[in-house]
């Protein structure tokens, strides 16, 4: 139980030091808000098709980037080593850091969602599934961001490493392009992208429709990715955090 409290203390400290700072909040909200507005201005009739993808993209980029910045900064300043000297396990550190990054991603995504609802009239048909999608997406992307960033020393190395994954999956996970129009060769790849399932869960929450598979299958797949991300993050931290 004390390890759970320690994770919460780590998380609260990270929010206080990094995620709660106005520049980071602004960065996390402005980019997807401007993108969404641009799509709405171009064609007000189709923005709802892209909205789940943009919200999922906010989670993907927000969580992975911020986790990478925080971990590489702490590695360089020695404060991650300070944390490793305290009586907390590597898993506790991963849980604490992932929780704060996830909270940041969820908060920025909720602001975007609130803007879409209040300003553009978007409805949440199934808020529960939408919320589950947000939670699972935030967890998966935070853990993947932490895993990538702990293996390198510099922020740019973490960003380069993650961009190899992030940009390609944007085009095969239903963010901009509906999954049913993907070429046949791309569909199997879409199945192994966690973003696909997060987008589908958010889509079901917003419109009540899933293109790829029923929401419960998307939920199980996303939980599977969350468990996998958690499973690889522990050893990655144990091996690389004190280097």
């Amino acid at each position: 139980m004390s390890q759970v409290f320690s994770a919460l203390f780590i998380s609260r400290k990270d929010i206080e030091s990094y995620y709660g700072k106005p520049p980071l909040i602004t960065w996390g909200i402005l980019f997807p808000a401007v993108l969404m507005l641009a799509i709405y201005v171009k064609d007000p009739g189709t923005y709802l098709n892209v909205a789940p993808g943009i919200i999922a993209m906010t989670l993907l980029f927000g969580n992975t980037s911020m986790a990478a910045i925080v971990v590489t900064f702490e590695k360089r300043s020695g404060t991650l080593q300070r944390l490793l000297l305290t009586p907390v396990t590597h898993r506790t550190i991963v849980l604490g850091k992932a929780t704060s990054a996830a909270a940041y991603g969820i908060a920025t995504s909720l602001v975007i969602t609130a803007g879409l609802t209040l300003l553009l009239g978007m409805n949440l048909v199934n808020p529960l599934v939408f919320g589950v999608g947000l939670l699972l997406g935030a967890g998966i992307f935070s853990l993947l961001g932490l895993t990538a960033s702990v293996m390198v020393r510099e922020v740019f190395e973490a960003m380069t490493l993650m961009n190899f994954l992030r940009f390609p999956i944007l085009f095969i996970s239903g963010v901009f392009m509906p999954l049913e129009v993907l070429p046949a060769w791309a569909k199997p790849i879409a199945m192994v992208s966690p973003l696909t399932y997060v987008v589908e869960l958010l889509r079901f929450g917003i419109s009540g429709q899933c293109y790829f598979s029923p929401p419960w299958i998307c939920g199980i797949a996303a939980v599977g990715f969350l468990v996998f991300s958690w499973w690889i993050a522990g050893p990655a931290f144990r091996r690389n955090a004190s280097r």
Binding site: S6, S77, T79, Q81, R82, L85, T86, P87
Partner: protein
């Protein structure tokens, strides 16, 4: 949890390599409860590697390491609860205030809210930082940063504190203050593991020291034991009221091996200081001169350290 062993740290056959480089080779030592133990060596000797293994930041390749009878690799969380670490570089959170840094670490060590607030205030007071409680860590001077880093290592009242080069880069008054604080910490019963380049500091603070060269333990003991091992003779410095002939003094005092005179002070190389003093007193009376000053000028730990290093270099030269 700690058992009944008289030793708080026990290390046997510790080895560690970085690729082809052997950082530590079969290192062993024991540290008693309440000791200040000096871990000395030149750059690259393996001091920081040892500290990192002892506090759980690095995994060892071979050997046994117990802290309070617990193996750091098998029981990292309980061991970390019992130790405090001050690394070579101050590594607290730059954006947090001094008070928040201490309280945050108190949270991670499981202190209750009241206990960590009180402990933080006490430590700020002890370390002369009470007026800096709301100052961010990054805004402190180097000396203050060092003091707060030591304070942070004590937030949970550890049994052992590891201090890795604690006074490096500090000005003389700050270094002196910190040394006084280290003694205060030790007086409260905390065992101190001190790595340092500063041999005068080690000599002044440490109950026992170990000298490590290229990952090997070269010698271990109290400062005076190490000096005696290296230097079998002691130097007596004597000022007499009148001139005496060096050779006659040497002949009259069997414990005196040689005599030299610099600026009116006689430097006597003696094998047995106790016997030499009484022989010199007897000789002075016989010669009708008075002893104005007499004292030992034993080799310092630094002299002993340099001799050990030179012997090591000569040994390696002999082998190749």
């Amino acid at each position: 949890m700690e058992g009944g062993s008289e030793y708080i740290i026990e290390v046997r056959g510790l080895s560690k390599s970085y690729g082809e480089t052997r950082a530590l080779e079969d290192v062993g030592f024991k540290i008693g409860r309440g000791e200040i133990f000096g871990y000395l060596g030149p750059n690259g000797a393996g001091k920081t590697t040892t500290v990192n293994i002892l506090c759980g930041l690095l995994r060892r390749d071979a050997g046994e390491v117990t802290v309070c009878n617990l193996d750091i690799e098998r029981d990292p969380v309980p061991v970390k609860q019992l130790i405090g670490v001050v690394p070579e570089e101050s590594n607290l959170y730059p954006e947090l205030t001094c008070r928040r840094n201490l309280e945050y670490l108190g949270e991670l060590y499981g202190l209750s809210s009241t206990a960590r607030r009180k402990k933080a205030e006490d430590l700020l007071e002890i370390f002369n930082l009470a007026d800096r409680g709301t100052t961010p860590f990054r805004a402190l001077s180097r000396g203050m940063k060092r003091r707060l880093t030591v304070a942070a290592a004590l937030i949970h009242s550890p049994k052992v504190v590891f201090l890795d080069e604690p006074t490096v880069g500090l000005d003389v008054p700050s270094a002196r203050d910190l040394r006084a604080l280290i003694q205060t910490i030790n007086l409260s019963g905390t065992t101190v593991f001190l790595t340092t380049h500063n041999l005068a500091e080690a000599e002044a603070l440490c109950d026992r020291v170990l000298i490590l060269v290229k990952g090997h333990v070269v010698t271990e003991g109290t400062s005076s034991e190490i000096r005696q091992r290296v230097e079998k003779t002691t130097t007596l410095s004597v000022i007499l009221s009148g001139d005496v002939e060096g050779k006659s003094l040497c002949d009259a005092c069997p414990a005196v091996r040689s005599v030299s005179s610099i600026d009116g002070t006689l430097h006597l190389e003696v094998t047995d200081p106790h016997a030499a003093v009484s022989q010199v007193v007897f000789f002075a009376e016989k010669q009708g001169v008075r002893i104005l000053e007499i004292g030992t000028a034993a080799a310092s730990l630094e002299d002993a350290f340099m001799t050990i290093l030179e012997n090591k270099v000569a040994e390696r030269g002999g082998r190749t």
